[in-house]
């Protein structure tokens, strides 16, 4: 069902003259989405990785130190559920990093700093049209079998992030 473009344009016109009502930055808005995702998917943390201009996957933010450690390990090793998610533009669900052969290097990297605080990872792509912009990663501190509801919710929040990125890119252009 397409948007009524005239209605939307008129609505934005009518809302817009006063300026950005809350004055928040795009960074703050993405923070808000990630916090909502963490709370509503009932996970221990979320992380966002984005492809930069050179096509390199980089850590944009994470909601807890353990999440940041995981995202950095993936960035350093070029290996991990988020990396594969971006590579395949598909969902990657890992019930237990410690038991995953595919991501053994990531687990080993995390263990260098002590017992890792992240065990289960769900990575969903942030898609802008057919282009992969990055990955939203939901994290749990204990092994966890990801249910369909969690996957759908993570995809929904990735969709909101995509919308904000698209609009942000236009506002910047």
């Amino acid at each position: 069902m397409p948007v009524d473009q005239n209605a939307l344009a008129a609505s934005l016109d009518s809302l817009g003259a006063a300026g950005a009502p809350d004055g928040r930055t795009l960074e703050q808005r993405l923070d808000q989405v990630m916090t909502a995702a963490r709370d509503m998917i009932h996970v221990d943390g979320v992380g966002l990785m984005l492809l930069d201009e050179a096509g390199v996957l980089r850590v944009a933010g994470a909601s807890l130190p353990a999440g940041l450690a995981l995202e950095r390990a993936q960035q350093t090793l070029d290996c991990g559920p988020g990396v594969d998610c971006v590579r395949t533009a598909g969902i990657v669900a890992v019930p237990d990093l410690a038991a995953s052969d595919d991501y053994a290097p990531v687990w080993a990297e995390l263990r260098k700093e002590g017992e890792p605080a992240v065990r289960a990872v769900l990575s969903v792509p942030v898609l802008v049209g057919t282009i992969v912009a990055g990955t939203l990663n939901a994290l749990r501190s204990r092994p966890h079998a990801w249910e369909d509801d969690s996957v759908r919710a993570a995809e929904a929040y990735a969709g909101v992030i995509s919308a904000l990125l698209r609009l942000g890119a236009t506002a910047q252009g």
Partner: protein, 234 residues
């Protein structure tokens, strides 16, 4: 609380800018559609108020949702209208048993809209529209779902605010006409009437709108007159 790295974000935005311009309507539509997945519902829709404070269809996830929004817009009543006027989440668990909105009920039911949850969408704290989700069967909406929808509306607010910034940067920049101010004026006038007549928000708003219609003036003008003079215009 995650802290987004501004440098990484800026680089990502430059990449996205290169691969194609954003399409504001599709971005807004995606956020409305995402609500369907998030809440596991049959459909969802976004309505935004015009300068007369009447809600109008902006986006819908499917045909019944669009019909639902247009019916409310035309009749000036329905769960979303009530959510907007009361500035809080409103639900109907089974419309076939609900007598509150007689003008839209048959249209809703005929199109498979049976239970509805509607929440105000605010900009800068002021209600500017509603987001609704609905099911094609009776459903007892609970407080958790109501809170979740209201929270999702905060993300819709973020999307609309970003869309405003995007639009301002685009070709429509010169066409922005109305301020949020008129909504604030209307809110204050409704509050004034509520206090003076010891009535509810819906009744106060109906009184304001009726006064505007009978005098062929805009609601915002009548609201301002009321606040300036303490009475409705002759």
């Amino acid at each position: 609380m995650p802290n987004i790295d501004p440098e990484v974000l800026a680089s990502s935005l430059r990449r996205l800018e290169r691969v194609g311009g954003a399409d504001i309507p599709s971005a807004v539509a995606d956020v409305v559609h995402a609500a369907v997945d998030l809440f596991g519902v049959t459909g969802s829709g976004l309505m935004v108020a015009d300068e007369e404070n009447s809600l109008h269809y902006v986006a819908a996830s499917n045909a019944p949702s669009k019909i639902m929004e247009e019916a409310q817009s035309s009749a000036g009543e329905g769960p979303c209208v009530t959510a907007f006027v009361l500035n809080r989440v409103v639900h109907t668990d089974d419309l076939s048993q609900d007598k509150r909105w007689p003008q839209i009920r048959d249209t809703f039911l005929r199109n498979g809209v049976v239970s509805v949850l509607g929440a105000p969408v605010r900009l800068g704290g002021v209600p500017v529209g509603t987001l609704d989700v609905f099911l094609d069967r009776p459903h007892d909406w609970d407080d958790t779902e109501a809170a979740a929808l209201q929270r999702y509306c905060d993300l819709v607010e973020s999307t609309l605010s970003t869309a405003l910034a995007a639009q301002r940067a685009g070709e429509l920049a010169g066409q922005l006409q109305y301020a949020l101010d008129y909504r604030i004026v209307i809110e204050r006038a409704v509050g004034y009437l509520m206090a003076r007549h010891e009535t509810g928000a819906e009744e106060a708003f109906t009184l304001l709108r009726s006064a505007a219609r009978s005098r062929r003036r805009k609601v915002a003008e009548v609201a301002q007159y009321l606040l300036d003079t303490g009475r409705l215009p002759d």
